[in-house]
Symmetry: C2
Subunit: 132 residues, 2 copies
């Protein structure tokens, strides 16, 4: 479920945040589902519990999960913090990346197709579950 690259220059906790976001967005992890405890996940991944906690703290601050002392950490329902500041930030990053993509020769049609695929994957993640 988690593939971490310890040698990567990208910090482990950031890899964790990315991966968990992905699982939440694609609804592999559903609302109010309990996440592994920091100690359990740390043991599974053979990394330090503090690193897990750092990732969970980041995800909580971004609204993707919530934690209850003594109980555990859980996936937030539906939408995370919908502050316009965050949306602007994502749009800004998106602009840079899209500019580079177009400069590299990726066509508009390819980008449109990519968006369609992603939307299908997010909206249709459940139906595909029990397909042959």
């Amino acid at each position: 479920m988690f593939e971490l690259d310890v040698r990567s220059r990208k910090p482990i906790y950031e890899q964790l945040v990315e991966r968990l976001k992905e699982l939440i967005i694609t609804e592999v992890l559903t609302a109010d589902e309990q996440l592994p405890s920091v100690r359990t996940l740390a043991q599974q991944l053979t990394i330090n519990p503090n690193t897990i906690q750092k990732a969970y703290r980041e995800l909580e601050s971004q609204g993707y999960i919530y934690s209850i002392k003594g109980k555990g950490s859980f996936v937030s329902a539906a939408t995370p913090n919908l502050n316009s500041e965050k949306i602007e930030k994502v749009k800004n990053e998106l602009s840079k990346l899209l500019s580079e993509a177009i400069y590299l020769g990726i066509t508009k049609n390819e980008l449109f197709k990519l968006i369609q695929e992603i939307e299908a994957a997010i909206g249709g993640g459940i139906e595909d579950d029990q397909n042959p």
Copy 2:
């Protein structure tokens, strides 16, 4: 022309790479145009020449500029290294960011519009010169 945030957790040389890429992609800096020397730019920005060189080295490895010992550093003509590996990498990053954008409530239409705007900003300069 360059706005650096020394306090940011994003390294200065990465900020430089991003900003220069942006200027090259939007053709504010045109092909074969000479960039400021590492020492000059370092003095202007009040940072170390080594930091500038690191950014230039990165840009050269990505094909955006080329350097000639004794002469200077220059903007590469047209397309950078078009290896499929790099394109795949960009597409992959794009997928993650697009997923997050959609999850945050940004609509497909907004994304399409964004792409149109970017393409207009990039491609507009050339096509207006002379039409086939």
